[in-house]
Symmetry: C2
Subunit: 328 residues, 2 copies
DNA sequence: CTGAAAGCGCTTACAG
DNA sequence: CTGAAAGCGCTTACAG
């Protein structure tokens, strides 16, 4: 491995000068700079990142913590984040909590020990220990998708979006709307979306039967099972179902199709997420586009801002858009 | 930041001893070890990765180069790789070439300079410069999906799988089979799959009209356009189409449905990839499961093998499975 | 069983 | 405009 010392020797200068030439810091005469650069070119020399990082306390790496690495949402977020960060010369270190919340804390610590320059966390819950850990590591930090008090957060307007979905269903004439959500320890997906649904129904004086409200776990399968449980109760059958994610909506559709229900004539279905799949299932799924890639970009930009010393915690609300398709 | 020196001071020992206790290297008396460990626990001390890496020349990071980070295939591969590598204490550094081939070379160099301990490359083409670069960096290296001469490679049996798909169609009575492939600079997806199709057709004395063979670029849209071009020629219309990826197959289906063709009565469609989507489109898509996650695991295991000094280049052929569904 | 010392490859005051 | 020296936080022969 060629080191800065080798380059210095070959150029007949000190390694101090080589360092300056490489980093455009301080004065280096044009002649010397050219000589150094041509030798660098020739040898294919690349500075050791660990030495540099040890010395400067900056690694050029940003840690990302995701609940699931293998979802479309995650891919889009990473895409957006990467677009912004790579332009700034940062690398990304990806971690996947597999939906286990203790791992969020574990990974924050791990990333800190890896000397990342900053962290973007897409959390599925909020709790004091997590908040404390974020405080403790004292690193440029951005939360994506959840609103953490005192922490720069890029969030979706979950409440407004879900109100819109519910209103849209009501305006289309559906008055018996069931709901498939997720656990409320997830403030954004679990709590906000459910509240929006319940309050919008109440506002329109529409009743919500207990058995109309089911919980899933983000999986297609849990949407299927949720729909099944809702319909197995013969009491009052809904004529629409609002699933809080596309995957659960698609699971619900599967069950409906299996049972011979027509969509949307017998039961309308809506999701959230605007997954590619939502466009190609039959009937195509009415859903909400959260512009995940843009959210990722926002988060990355907010982080870069912090890295450059703007330390005030910000709240950024990303926009969304309803996509009306054939399932309603 | 607490360093090893702080710990040493607090424990009244030298940092040498702390290092030994931390790494279980060399002798440390039980008493001293316990004392050190409790202080480490208390302070939440974590060794500096860059210092360690600078000293040991190992970073504990494995670089992954993918053609596209935001695809299901990529997600599954990363999942498999991560499962194996994280258990061994390795972190992953992900890079995305966005299908530009010069970036493959660029990233190999970049990862090298980042001091990664090894690289897994999922390439979309093979060329001499790339091969040379792999040689040059002289790092534990595994190719995933392409067979690189002299390099440990985990590959799919593209030829056999495509022969099976074509044979299956023929056995079901389809005798006019069109094909939507990708460019042949991609040996696995572009060349092998096409050869398998052509040779199987020839073997059965089935003719292949020129306009039956179209090229796409992996996107849904390119499948749509390919199908369109095939059918706009009125000469001889096919009664089946073999698209070499699910996404292109789904694009083809879109066009067919738009034009009022019935699938599979008028035209049968097949893909490769076993994407989640393939299961939920209508009709559900006949495809091939390549067990990507397992392939990722294999690649990671092969890399770990090299890391442990087994230096012989190996070839690992992953298995596959045909999934028969309603589109045929 | 333990420690002093060297050194990994950089950057950055400081001095000239 | 340039260089000598210190030091970042570790590990590892070497010596005891």
């Amino acid at each position: 491995m060629t080191t800065i010392n080798d380059i210095a020797k070959m150029a007949n200068v000190s390694r101090t000068t080589v360092s300056r030439a490489l980093n455009n810091s301080g004065y280096v005469s044009e002649d010397v700079r050219k000589k150094i650069m041509s030798i660098v070119e020739e040898t294919g020399y690349m500075p050791s990142v660990s030495a540099k990082s040890l010395r400067t306390k900056r690694s050029g790496v940003i840690g990302i913590i995701l609940p699931r690495i293998s979802t479309e949402t995650a891919s889009r977020l990473v895409n957006g984040i990467n677009d912004v960060l790579s332009k700034q010369g940062f690398q990304i270190l990806l971690t996947d909590t597999e939906l286990q919340k203790d791992k969020e804390i574990e990974y924050i610590r791990l990333l800190k020990s890896r000397q990342v320059d900053g962290i973007i966390l897409s959390a599925t819950n909020i709790n004091d220990e997590l908040l404390q850990t974020i405080q403790d590591v004292d690193l440029p930090f951005v939360s994506l998708g959840q609103d953490f008090p005192g922490v720069t957060s890029v969030v979706y307007d979950d409440y407004a979006a879900s109100v819109d979905v519910t209103n849209m269903l009501i305006q289309k004439g559906y008055d018996k709307i069931a709901f498939i959500g997720v656990g409320e320890e997830d403030p954004s997906v679990g709590y906000e979306r459910k509240q929006a649904y319940l309050q919008t129904m109440a506002k329109h004086d529409l009743s919500v039967h207990d058995h109309w409200v089911e919980m899933g776990d983000f999986s297609i399968d849990s949407g299927y099972e949720g729909m099944k449980r809702i319909l197995q109760n013969n009491d009052a059958q809904p004529n629409a179902v609002f699933a809080v994610t596309d995957r659960m909506a698609i699971g619900a559709m599967e069950y409906l199709k299996e049972q011979g229900y027509r969509i949307p004539e017998d039961i309308a279905v809506t999701g959230i997420g605007a997954s590619v799949m939502s466009k190609y299932v039959s009937p195509s799924l009415t859903t909400v586009d959260y512009f995940n890639k843009e959210a990722g970009e926002e988060a990355a930009r907010a982080l870069v801002g912090q890295l450059q010393g703007k330390n005030t915690s910000k709240k950024i609300k990303n926009s969304y858009r309803l996509i009306l398709r054939d399932s309603v």
